[in-house]
Symmetry: C2
Amino acid sequence: MITMKDIARELGINESTVSRALNNHPHVHPSTRERVAEAARRLNYRPNTLARSLATNRSYVVGLVISNIANLFFAEVTQGIEQVADANGYSVILCDTARDAAKEQRYLDLLASRQVDGIIFMSGRLPADTVAAIRNVKCPVVTISRDGASYGIPTVRINNRAEAARAVSYLINLGHARIGFISGQLDDAESGLPRLAGYKSALEDAGIPFDPCIVQEGDFTMESGMRACTRLLDAAPRPTAIFAANDEMAIGAMKALAQHGISVPKDMAVVGFDNTALARVVTPPLTTVAQPLRALGSTATEMLIRLMTGQGLRDTEVVLDCQLVVRSSCGGTGI
Amino acid sequence: MITMKDIARELGINESTVSRALNNHPHVHPSTRERVAEAARRLNYRPNTLARSLATNRSYVVGLVISNIANLFFAEVTQGIEQVADANGYSVILCDTARDAAKEQRYLDLLASRQVDGIIFMSGRLPADTVAAIRNVKCPVVTISRDGASYGIPTVRINNRAEAARAVSYLINLGHARIGFISGQLDDAESGLPRLAGYKSALEDAGIPFDPCIVQEGDFTMESGMRACTRLLDAAPRPTAIFAANDEMAIGAMKALAQHGISVPKDMAVVGFDNTALARVVTPPLTTVAQPLRALGSTATEMLIRLMTGQGLRDTEVVLDCQLVVRSSCGGTGI
DNA sequence: CTGTTAGCGCGTTCAA
DNA sequence: TTGAACGCGCTAACAG
């Protein structure tokens, strides 16, 4: 490895002059600067970021703690994060916790040891000891899509309640008055309860009475969507539309409908939530609430950068808007 | 930040003794070791990995250069990589190149500057200057799924030719004699040409003449699959089965078939390649050649670890087996 | 504008 | 078994 010392010796000047020249400090003679640059090029010099970080106490690395990179949802958010980080000179250390709480803690510790300048945390719920661990790392932390705001942790998320209501209102405007709902786990404070609440409020706004018989709980898997849909079909009167709390369950519902010979969207409209790639591949393409995945990542990263660079935050909680993507499962025209 | 010096002062002993105690060196008095451990705990000491790396010249970080983390294919491989890396004490720096050759070079340089111990490279083809850049970083590099072996770069990949042949043979055994092929770009030395070659060889083995009329080139997108399929339907005699070089195009083909009122698998069998999550969501679920995605990642990481730890490599090229996953698009039973 | 000195936190000699 | 001293590669403070 070739160091600043080498190029200093080569040029018969001092190491710190080399440092200044390479870092574009003011007050370096143009000719010196040029000679240094030339020598660096010639000797194939590569700065040692580790040493620099040790000296400056800034690593220009951010940690990303995530529960499952193989999930399209997280993968897209990650892309938004990496892109903004890189554009600002930061590298990203990827930590996949596989929803393991012990791993979460270990990763937070590891990242702190590695002197990261900041951390983005997007791994499941926030139990008390995880909150404690987050407070324990000295660097700024931003959480995505979780209930961090209630702990005073900077957060970016979507308004699950309002977005769910928007989707249901859309169905109502289409003329549907009997709308089944396939919920996620109701103990999920993120995508479970709030989306159910949104469903209810949209009905209420339209003066449609809430009927618990056409609300079925699933667990966000395709299989649970199929089962929930089958139960919905037994309700009397039968719903004319189904809203599911995520795409997977909506797709499961469409499969169940197909098995029962019910045609989408002619006999049943279906709407999902998330807008993963699955939604446009399934037949017919699924109408769905599109989360701004990349934006979740980039916004969180921008917040983190503000914190790391000592600029304040406007709001410790940012709520992003979604978009209803209408496809042929809901009366759209399809491809 | 609290350092070894702090705990040394606290205990009235020397800093290097603390270092030895913390690193479980032999020849440290048990009582000293215990006092140090206790003080470290009490003061909430956290080792500074940067400083350690600078001193030992090993960072325990690997770089991952990838072309698109939002693609399920790469995301799953990445999960395999992260998992093995973490299990061996390595962290992963994620670099998403977005297929930008300039970014590839920049990232390789960046990683070298960060003193990573090794790099896994999985970003598109290997043009000459990228090969040069790879040779230029001093740490070991392993490539995945690319033609690195011909440059002497350690590689793990699948046998695209043989796996494609396997899928086509399966169709032949099912009784199909007229099998259309939707290829990828034929200038793609990875998934383009080899898969076409596999298609041809399977036909030849079965004594079926090759007919260029029922080979249509696509570009791995769903839309191109639709167009290619439409062209295939004009061929006379019309094929009874279609093999596509990836899932996306196979799904596009299924969409085109649906538009033409052709039922899958009754009137047409369809087989894809890759086994992304899309394959089991589409209707009917797609038969496809399943690449061992996680294994690609974990195998590459294991190779890299051998290299980083100075153990040799058995083979500089490892070829993994795929598996044909039969689903209802091809005579399976469906869900 | 440049050289000198000191130090970031840790590991590793070499003596004692 | 422990202490003292030095070095990893780089930045920063202070002179000059």
